[in-house]
Symmetry: C3
């Protein structure tokens, strides 16, 4: 069996490492081309700026939406945990770039359900024979890293247990930059359940920006102390609050998040309605206490933490945040394929 | 952030209303281009004729099946209720036109399962950021209308509770026109459960045609009295029957439908076999009592209401009806995109 | 309604039989073009050689991976039973050839769940109106054959109950030929549960090759006696073993397979962990007792029958076997479409 360029292209032989079969992707200075996307720790400020700029070009007059830079490439979704927004924004980003999509949205359709974690690694390895990039969500923290270890193609972490959710953080950072023209000098309030993986990833990204982190957690749901230490080591102010009314005037952004339920790995599913959030952001409270330019973000779906009467106010940027999930992931995929 | 033509094309910013971003779609006389498809009430006789003609062209010698009028467009499926025929005929219609498909076939793969209806609206809004047209089935009557209210892209109702199923009615009407060369002057018998949403939609469409409606419902499963009033207000004869043997010679078409089970919203699923239909259409009864040109239709899957021994008889048009689901939906999508 | 070439191409009218609408596909000497793929019994040695040669071309320098021979064609997946590798290798093979994919990965998303077998035939017939080739897995032995009887498009059996799994056998045979340059004169040991449908299909294929079949089944899980008779009628040696240590030095290939659990039709699903295999292939036992060139195959997912410490040894060819699933199915689809 001869190793030919056609075979490399079709990728049914494992690559020794991402980028290894194409020297042009092995460039040390490019943190995206041929690389896994596992953690926000992979990116410094200039890497993130590269991503924002690539996203900006998708909004420009010159961008040709009929271009198909990823034609012939296949994105494989391997979602061992429920998702709508994250899965569909990755999948439609691939389709918008001319690529194709396959995979599974539900571990129950695979014979993987009920198998040991080791068998999951077999599945990841196998999937990498069939596609060109793998997007995975898994209830076990660290599972995408294990996938990256065995996969012959780049792996995107679309959320792992209590770990990270880097592409959500990229979208959040891009939305802040789009709204304020900068990320430095912003004061951002995180409310309710600060253990969320999207918040962890966002805070790792924010370490590179001169911003203030304000926290108003529900009882027992505060920031990981290690993360707080790390932020302070980077010179960031981390400020604890106990009262929404007093916190609001002091911040530019409120990042609301629901209390973890189905994201918690190994927690049995429940049919009881969400418990009411201890803090609910409403139109009233914003109109009375927030600064005029305050911006509200939320990683949907919301439960009780954000009232729908905020939807029609100028504070609402969570629709824009959701919409930005598409162009940011289009830009990321383009960079990963060296386009 | 500049609003550019590329952005409009990629549609990650909400449109104020379908058609609003493209003046050429705002034409009052076109009921399809850029419009939602929620109810058969949207269409008069000339609108339906426009759809049939567009479907006819797909059957013509001149039609070029390699044409890709919807290349680069994405159809999103959001099925909160089970479907095979309806979902796949929409999806393959989109693929046949050169478009792409994403979405979900099962609410269980989304985090929407167990959430409040309000959260479903968030999901619909979000989906509309990622695709160009949204097809949805939902157990709640009226849910697609709510989706249309929040979505920035056209919404197709693929069945809502006890509401409507307009694209099925379009397929049924086209099949009748194809078989008889007309829809006027047909006598159509509806049997068994007349509360079905596909029957409701079909009867709304039939109001525009000079036809007779014959009814042979199971006990407690008759036509909605409002719908009967409406048909009579349009000058249509509505005739009740109590005996299949006497009804058959008087009609040109039998539209058989199973007793509602899994279509009924909020009715708990059951593993017990379907209860036998009170009326079963068999080869014997047709050969003894039906006119020579009688045509049997059925919205599959069938349960006990239609015997498989009818399959090989000349009465069977339900395979053709099922097959027509593809070209009718291709024509509809083309018209919706102004092609 | 006129039957035109466009209609035939779009295939929304049933064909009388595969190949019937295109005389060029009716060639008696071609066992692939326009034909169903239901059983390895359809193929003799020269047919299989045709498939291997077509697969070889996908590995050649001259192969152009950007070619789209199946552009505009739709593959429909109808998986009534769980699958990851088989479904995704068929689907991505279709995508790699420029085609599209639709269907369902889980019978629960269709209204077919809980319906009678007769309704499954309705579904198969209906699916064939929407696509160009149908791939199906079903817990009932013989279901794909029934599908082929009603479908107007070619059907691929992707595993039926205790029946067959022909495309897996094609992949296994190709992998053997790739490794050894031949299939004749190989000595192949089958361990553990020899009732598996992939083993049945492989042994039917191996009847055409001058090889020795060695068996080391778990208690009560031996080869079907009819299959043994058939192999001997073809002049093949079938040798029973009771001790792995003594069997290993006598063979060139070990084909390990897990004890049947979820593949067994109508067997209730169980949440208890797999029972430990009575034979486990480990690195130690291979290094001490196997010949240097011995090759281990496995139809993943594995349970207890194959230790992960074999992964890094030169005995491991199961990753290559998994990877070959893509090009073999690409070649098969090309041949089925006469390309």
């Amino acid at each position: 069996m001869m190793v030919t360029s056609a075979m490399r292209d079709i990728r049914w032989t494992p690559r020794s490492a991402p980028g290894a079969d194409d020297p042009s992707l092995a460039n040390d200075t490019d943190r995206f081309a041929g690389q896994h996307v596992l953690s926000m720790r992979q990116y410094d400020r200039s890497d993130l700026e590269q991503l924002y700029t690539a996203t900006d070009t998708l909004f420009s007059e010159e961008y040709d939406a009929s271009d198909k830079p990823l034609e012939g490439k296949i994105l494989l979704s391997a979602f061992f945990e429920k998702s709508t927004r994250t899965r569909l924004s990755h999948e439609t980003a691939m389709l918008r770039l001319g690529g194709s999509v396959s995979g599974f949205a539900d571990a129950q359709v695979t014979r993987a359900a009920g198998l040991a974690q080791e068998a999951h690694e077999d599945i990841y390895r196998m999937l990498s024979f069939y596609g060109d990039v793998l997007v995975t969500r898994h209830p076990d923290t660290g599972a995408p890293g294990k996938a990256a270890h065995v996969a012959s193609i780049p792996v995107i972490n679309a959320g792992d247990g209590l770990g990270e959710h880097p592409t959500q953080a990229m979208t959040d950072l891009y939305t802040l930059r789009q709204e304020f023209g900068r990320i430095d000098d912003l004061r951002i309030l995180f409310t309710e359940d600060l253990r969320m993986r999207c918040i962890r990833s966002l805070l790792i990204g924010l370490q590179h920006y001169n911003c203030e982190i304000h926290c108003l957690p529900a009882a027992g749901k505060g920031l990981d102390p290690t993360l707080v230490q790390e932020l302070r080591a980077h010179g960031r102010l981390v400020i604890e609050h106990s009262d929404l009314i007093r916190a609001l005037p002091a911040v530019d952004v409120v990042y609301t998040s629901p209390t973890l339920r189905d994201d918690v790995p190994r927690q049995p599913p429940t049919d009881t309605p969400s418990q009411p959030s201890s803090v609910t952001i409403t139109r009233d409270v914003l109109e009375q206490h927030a600064g005029a330019g305050l911006v509200v973000l939320n990683e949907l779906p919301r439960r009780g933490e954000l009232s729908s009467d905020v939807d029609e106010t100028p504070f609402n940027r969570y629709w824009k945040q959701a919409a930005n999930g598409l162009p940011v992931r289009m830009a990321l995929l383009k960079l990963m394929f060296g386009k």
